[in-house]
């Protein structure tokens, strides 16, 4: 029922989308900062390519998960080519819903004996 729960309609999120939401959760970031943040968070395992990044961003803008913000940092830290993105309340809802879905999945996996770090 997409109308009653629009957030659920977008689940499961593609991994790139989820990572981008995590990257802009705490602060507004521009494209390259998102790539770096995702790489740092995953210990360099996930390096988003520019194409994947902007294709995801384009779709996320259309879906209303993020918006482009026109507040810019101090000029000495800025580059005029950069565009900054901010998570929307809806984007936060979707991220929470995806977190819930994943943790339920993890719980189910544990119940089946797929515990991590234990014998």
């Amino acid at each position: 029922m997409p109308d009653s729960n629009p957030a659920a309609a977008l689940l499961p999120l593609p991994p790139a989308t989820f990572h981008i939401l995590l990257a802009v959760a705490a602060e507004d970031r521009h494209g390259y900062a998102i790539i770096q943040d995702v790489a740092a968070r995953t210990n360099g395992e996930l390096k988003l390519s520019p194409g994947t990044l902007y294709r995801s961003i384009q779709r996320m803008l259309e879906q209303g998960l993020i918006v482009e913000t026109h507040e810019r940092p101090a000029p000495e830290l800025d580059d005029e080519r950069r565009r900054y993105y901010r998570i929307t309340p809806f984007g936060a809802d979707v991220a929470r819903a995806e977190t819930r879905r994943l943790s339920q999945l993890v719980t189910m996996a544990r119940d089946c004996g797929f515990a991590v770090g234990r014998a």
Partner: protein, 864 residues
């Protein structure tokens, strides 16, 4: 960096405009951080990444555009349906025409390496090509170097007894190497070996797939079984594959042809009946083979100066054997289909342009809220492609329905199946035609509609469309009128040609005459007396049937067998080389009563009679043209001539008939009494066609006739049961089919052009509502308004008709070969076509004119 920028061009322009700078910046950083091998890896990764992401983005856009296109088209169903129907007609007509043309003209013949297959002909003065005599064939084969294999065949017919009812079957006598020349192998059993060509070898036969499936029920054990053909035992040695049709699709079985060394028939170099096929050695061009054969022929001419007088040779690729008429007919069909497609395209372009103008506000709004021009153009193109593909799909259905109707246009003379199929090639053609139409006639209106300067449309009350667009649309409508004029005239000329041919008197009675074939098998009926007894029994019993006024036998019915032509020598006339076309006549054996049964007037003298026997004077009935040629202004009765090894005395003069067909010139005719043939002489000419004239319906007569033949000889099959009227109708059957097809195309073109005129004027009226309102307010009379609109339509019609007439005349000249003497500039046809164009213009302008008259001036002015 520049290279990366170039790579980014794979992305849609809108995406590039949005994110290109940032992507370049990120790339620059990465490029800076990399060195050595990792630079190469970076490039490889970038290439894959760009290609996969760009494809995904393009796909996203396409999906959006498709959704949007379906929504907009669904919201204007009238426009969508018109466009789809217009396209379906255009694509359907072309797909159908292509499927037939491809099948007959383009597709390679169904033999391995068909480009190396050629026909060999003798060439004589007066004949462009002539079959070979067995003696010349054997010499040619032995002396030539250009060919891998050379084989000969001739069409025969045999009676098959022992498989249910006796059957009369079309067959071919072939030499053993014919199949190796063609490169054909039986699918079961084995082919003929040279040993089987020899005299006295046991009889063997190859079945066609069709005969094996039909008469033999697909019996898997058929190879090795025996059959009786013409009363002699034969062994079935194999079955040919399903798609093997040679020399034509009527051929049902093949048997080895044997040349009897002591047969005078074989020695006679003027006895031409062999068709010859050869396979060129790889790399030998046709011209070289032809040159070689001409040399060989001239050597043989020196060796046999009398028999081979002026006999040369010709080598013609098998594919080119198609008659000029068939080729012309198919090209005319393709041309007509192309005309229809062009008209459909012009109509579609007009529809799309009008729609683009009407949608200008919507497009301007979308541009204003940020859609780039490229996105809008892309959206419009997607829309026209959706239309084109829907129209194309419907067009394929139209074509699939039409192709069986076009099957009559496939000439029987080719070694291919009768019905072309709508296969992958044809579908690809239809798809290509649709997409090209959609693109070609969608892009231009889209670009026009999206021209940025036009986006001033948002201004309050801005008028859509300027003078230039109007002119372009008028030009398109003119082109439609022009093309439909060409089709109308061509169809008209063909109809007139058909009428002319149908109006030709064949010279004999066609109605109420039943015909059938009882081909008497040899050697059972080799004796003339045996045949005479059979004929007498059948004819006397048939004549006694109620309603029957006459019955007779003849060697070959007119219009079914066009050969049987012999040289004529008349004492006291300059002796010509026997085979010069000017001194030949067609020869037929007849039984008494033939002329009366067929309604052929006997002008003078008498009919042949039962008392004309071997012992009495050898006589003949000749046709009027025969008399005109040899004894003009003299009494021909009692005069002598030599023909077919005998001296004959003229005892009667019959009216001429069309032996060769309605629209072909025929030789003079000679009829000789059936009893005046020595045993075993000219057995190919032994009468086999029975004609019965009756007042009863032929179908009612048939069971009784079957019974009569059965009681005369229980093993004698009956075949080719038809009425003489059917045989005459067959003469024009392919013409009728062709007239129907071209006529249908012309009607479609006519309607489309009418729709085009109507659409243009309707749009013009809606655009000029205000102006017309002012005119009415200022006192213009309804008649004047109507006149103004109709004048605009008439101008378009005249501007299209005049160049259309020139093109139509050119098209008529191009198809003159199939016009049966109708002039390409035929006045009545042109007058009719012009009249129809006039009617079309008036009808097309009427509705818009009515709408113009009904404009309420107050409302029109207030709406500004």
């Amino acid at each position: 960096m520049r290279l990366y920028g170039f790579l980014l061009r794979v992305y849609p322009a809108s995406f590039r405009a949005e994110y290109g700078d940032e992507m370049r910046a990120i790339w620059a950083r990465r490029r800076r951080d990399a060195s050595g091998v990792s630079v190469t890896l970076l490039w490889i990764a970038a290439l894959f990444e760009v290609l996969s992401n760009a494809a995904a983005i393009h796909w996203d856009i396409l999906r959006q555009d498709l959704r949007y296109a379906v929504r907009t088209l669904a919201s204007s169903p009238g426009f969508a349906l018109t466009a789809i129907l217009v396209l379906a007609l255009g694509v359907g007509a072309n797909t159908a025409a292509f499927s037939v043309t491809d099948f007959v003209l383009i597709r390679p013949l169904p033999f391995p390496d068909p480009g190396r297959l050629v026909n060999l002909w003798e060439k004589l003065p007066g004949y462009s090509r002539m079959e070979l005599s067995p003696a010349n064939y054997l010499d040619w084969r032995q002396m030539s170097q250009s060919f891998d294999a050379m084989g000969a065949y001739w069409n025969i017919a045999v009676n098959l007894v022992g498989q249910g009812d006796p059957e009369h079957l079309e067959a071919a006598g072939v030499t053993a190497d014919l199949f190796s020349a063609l490169g054909a192998q039986p699918m079961m059993g084995h082919g003929f070996t040279p040993a089987e060509d020899r005299e006295g070898a046991p009889g063997t036969v190859l079945l066609s797939y069709q005969l094996w499936q039909g008469l033999f029920g697909g019996d898997p054990e058929v190879v090795g079984k025996g059959v009786r053909l013409d009363d002699e035992p034969f062994e079935i040695i194999g079955v040919m594959p399903r798609d093997f049709h040679f020399p034509s699709r009527d051929t049902l079985l093949w048997m080895p042809m044997r040349f009897h060394e002591h047969d005078p028939d074989f020695k006679d170099r003027t006895n031409n009946y062999l068709s010859v096929v050869a396979r060129l050695k790889p790399g030998i061009p046709v011209a070289r083979a032809r040159a070689e054969m001409v040399t060989i022929a001239s050597r043989l001419e020196k060796q046999y100066p009398d028999e081979n007088k002026q006999t040369s040779a010709d080598v013609i690729p098998l594919r080119d054997e198609l008659s000029q008429q068939s080729r012309l007919l198919l090209l005319a069909l393709s041309g007509a289909a192309l005309c229809v497609l062009l008209i459909a395209c012009a109509n579609l372009a007009n529809l799309l342009m009008a729609r683009g103008l009407a949608r200008q506000k919507e497009l301007a709004v979308r541009a204003a809220i940020g859609a780039g021009r490229e996105r809008l153009v892309r959206q419009l193109i997607t829309e026209s492609l959706v239309l084109a593909l829907l129209g194309g799909a419907l067009g394929v259905l139209v074509a699939a329905a039409a192709v069986p109707l076009l099957a009559r246009l496939v000439p029987t003379s080719l070694p291919i199946a009768q019905t072309p199929s709508v296969d992958l090639r044809v579908l690809l053609f239809a798809a290509a035609a649709s997409i090209l139409t959609g693109l070609g006639f969608g892009v231009f209106p889209a670009l026009r509609a999206c021209r940025s300067s036009d986006f001033s449309a948002l201004r309050e009350g801005a008028r859509a469309g300027g003078g230039r667009k109007e002119r372009l649309r008028s030009a398109l409508v003119m082109a439609e009128v022009m093309a439909s004029m060409v089709l109308l005239v061509s169809a008209g000329l063909l109809i007139k040609a058909l009428w002319r041919i149908q109006g030709i008197d064949p010279g004999f009675r066609a109605s109420g005459v039943l015909t059938l074939k009882t081909a008497l098998p040899m050697p059972k009926y080799e004796k003339t007396a045996a045949r005479a007894e059979f004929y007498t029994r059948v004819i006397s019993a048939a004549t006694a049937l109620p309603g029957v006024s006459g019955a007779a036998y003849i060697s070959f019915l007119p219009m079914t067998m066009t050969g049987g032509v012999w040289a004529v020598n008349v004492a006291g006339q300059p002796e010509e080389a026997g085979r010069n076309g000017a001194h030949t006549a067609s020869l037929r054996y007849v039984t008494p009563g033939f002329f009366a049964t067929m309604g052929i007037p006997l002008d003078r003298g008498r009919d042949v009679s039962d008392s004309d026997t071997l012992d009495s004077t050898w006589v003949a009935v000749v046709s009027e043209s025969f008399v005109r040629r040899y004894w003009p202004h003299q009494d021909p009765l009692g005069r002598h001539f030599k023909m077919a090894f005998s001296d004959r005395t003229v005892v009667g003069i019959a009216a001429d008939i069309h032996v060769r067909g309605l629209d072909r010139a025929s030789e003079p005719q000679v009829y000789i009494p059936y009893r005046q043939a020595k045993d075993g002489w000219l057995i190919g000419y032994a009468p086999k066609d029975l004609v019965i004239h009756s007042s009863a319906a032929p179908s009612a007569l048939l069971p009784a006739v079957r019974q009569i033949v059965h009681s005369a000889d229980p093993e004698q099959p009956i075949s080719n049961v038809r009425t003489m009227a059917d045989i005459v109708d067959d003469q024009t059957a392919s013409r009728v089919a062709q007239v129907r097809v071209l006529g249908a195309f012309a009607v479609i073109a006519f309607l489309l052009a009418g729709i085009g005129i109507h659409g243009l004027l309707a749009f013009a009226v809606s655009r000029r509502t205000q102006e017309i309102g002012v005119r009415i307010a200022l006192g213009a009379r309804p008649g004047g308004i109507v006149g103004m609109i109709v004048r605009q339509g008439a101008w378009l019609a005249v501007a299209g008709t005049v160049p259309g007439m020139v093109l139509a005349y050119a098209a008529g000249r191009a198809i003159q070969g199939i016009l049966a003497g109708v002039e390409p500039g035929d006045g009545i046809t042109f007058a009719c076509a012009i009249g129809l164009c006039l009617v079309m213009t008036v009808l097309g302008s009427l509705l818009p004119a009515m709408r113009a008259v009904r404009i309420d001036p107050m409302q029109a002015i207030r709406s500004e």
